[in-house]
């Protein structure tokens, strides 16, 4: 009587399935509770991986609800890689369609923010550009150049106050989130990703830079959206967080 790994896997993920025949207790009887050890190990270890990935989501919905969410998620989206640091990538879309939590419309973007923080944590290191390089450059050359952001930089744009929600729940003495959309820039000055609220127009500027637009084009896009766009403030945020890894000059076509 041969137990295939297909049968084993199905039964592990679905507690409603019978234990595959051919697996036994020491007395020769069919294993039941002993098989449940594997079911439990798989469910618990994947739930813990999701708890590690989404601490804010867990805080917002409560640990019991999060366990139920994780149980549903891990059956719908079992990992496809042994790298648990990447597990949970489909959580934002899953939340959009997860009935019990669908009325909390901001949760998918909270999950996006947490995935971005995790991605930033494991991203490649980069040597930050010295601030003088930018400051010393003639304006026309700067406008034609392209900023190369560090691999750990992430941008998360939301119609919900995700930075306010993050700060209110994950830091001490923070004010309540305001009712507005927020764009978050994640920098990683050393090893700890830090989310920053971008000023008006900042999301547009950073998005354009990430898409490979020139400094000038990114600036124009931001000003077109927000006339009083604060470029010096944004640059000091980027430079202070070590977010700029280089400046590319040359052919822009």
């Amino acid at each position: 009587m041969s137990v295939t790994q297909t049968d084993f896997t199905r039964a592990v993920f679905d507690p409603g399935q019978a234990v595959p025949p051919g697996l036994t207790n020491p007395d020769g009887a069919a294993a039941t509770k002993r098989f449940d050890v594997y079911r439990n190990n798989v469910a618990v270890s994947l739930t813990e991986a999701l708890e590690t990935a989404f601490p804010l989501l867990r805080k917002l919905v409560g640990s019991d609800n999060f366990r139920r969410l994780a149980g549903a998620y891990l059956r719908a989206h079992p990992p496809t890689s042994p790298l648990m640091m990447h597990y949970g990538q489909e959580m934002p879309q899953f939340l959009e369609n997860f009935g019990p939590l669908r009325r909390l419309g901001y949760l998918p973007d909270v999950a996006r923010l947490e995935l971005a923080l995790r991605g930033s944590y494991h991203a490649a290191d980069a040597t930050p550009l010295a601030p003088e390089t930018l400051q010393d450059m003639p304006a026309d050359r700067l406008m034609a150049a392209r900023l190369r952001l560090a691999p750990a930089v992430r941008l998360v744009r939301s119609r919900w106050p995700i930075h306010g929600i993050w700060r209110f729940n994950m830091t001490d003495d923070a004010p309540k989130p305001e009712s507005r959309g927020e764009n978050v820039l994640i920098t990683r000055p050393d090893f700890d990703p830090a989310p920053h609220l971008l000023p008006p127009g900042g999301g547009t500027f950073v998005a354009a830079v990430l898409q490979g637009e020139s400094f000038g084009a990114a600036y124009e896009a931001a000003v077109a959206q927000v006339a009083e766009f604060d470029l010096p403030g944004l640059l000091s945020l980027l430079l202070g967080g070590g977010a700029i890894a280089g400046l590319d000059e040359g052919d822009q076509e």
Partner: protein, 285 residues
């Protein structure tokens, strides 16, 4: 891309090591005694950069490192995941660890990763498949690996040989070494109602390159029979220390790892466990 290191340590010392956790970095820098080497889970160091890799580069200058894979699924029915084997080659290639080990278990099936070490029957067919996977790993990494005995909770009716026979034959056919997890021996023997001392006495100790010790949880099955669960979440229990002392007496001194992966304690608790292993490895007088 990380620069390849010059290997500083080509083997693990016959002394205590611990499973490395990021939160112990400062304590280890201050005073690691009696710990002389560190083991990492390969999969946690497969990111592109950041703190884990920075700490690892630093620690590898001072300590022999054992890379312990938990995701290669050597006991899987399907072929090894070529992407994962490439990631492992990359890690082993730049780090030049003192040792690389994996498990006699499977964790991936049909591209689904189950994040647990699942059991396989011990038959001629599974023996041939595991050996061919180990040949592939040793070819890809260009080095000998160690294979670890699992904790098991149930038995396969189809098994044709004992676990010790199975592991001994793998070592003979592939030239790989073995990682003898003494807690796993105790857990499996209790669960299978066999004698752990007979297992140790029959084990091919000449192939053993490393020993693991860890904590387990106690439960019972539906008939009331003891059911031990390998949890790595507490101290090693006294009967496992006794079995370990017997193992060293029979097989000689070996690099010995304390594993503690869940509810990880502060460094002094882990160092105290390593101290107990050191006492067995180097008896007074």
């Amino acid at each position: 891309m990380l620069d390849a290191r010059t290997p500083r340590f080509d083997r693990l010392p016959d002394a205590p090591g611990v499973g490395y956790k990021l939160q112990h970095f400062a304590a280890i820098q201050a005073d690691a005694r009696p710990v002389e080497w560190l083991e990492i889970h390969a999969e946690n160091y497969m990111g592109d950069g950041g703190r884990p890799l920075a700490q690892l580069r630093h620690l590898a200058e001072r300590f022999p490192i054992s890379v312990h894979g938990v995701g290669l699924s050597i006991g899987g029915e399907g072929r090894l995941d070529p992407d994962h084997l490439a990631r492992l080659s990359h890690l082993v290639g730049w780090l030049h660890p003192a040792s690389f080990s994996e498990h006699l278990a499977w964790s991936t099936h049909d591209s689904h990763f189950l994040n647990d070490l699942l059991p396989l029957p011990y038959t001629q067919a599974t023996l041939a498949r595991v050996c061919s996977h180990i040949d592939e790993v040793q070819d890809a990494l260009g080095r000998r690996m160690l294979l670890e005995n699992p904790s098991t909770y149930l038995a396969f009716v189809e098994s044709e040989m004992s676990e010790v026979e199975f592991l001994g034959e793998i070592a003979r056919r592939t030239g790989c070494g073995l990682l003898l997890d003494v807690n796993n021996v105790f857990v499996s023997a209790t669960n299978q109602q066999t004698d752990p001392y007979s297992y140790i006495d029959a084990f091919p100790h000449a192939h053993v390159g490393e020993i693991h010790l860890g904590g387990h949880d106690e439960d019972a099955d539906e008939t009331g029979a003891p059911l031990l669960i390998d949890s790595h979440g507490r101290e090693v229990v006294d009967p496992v220390w006794a079995l370990y002392a017997h193992t060293i007496a029979v097989g000689g001194r070996k690099p010995t790892l304390i594993e503690w992966d869940t509810d990880v304690p502060d460094w002094p608790v882990l160092a105290a466990e390593a101290e107990r292993a050191a006492a067995v490895l180097e008896p007074a007088g």
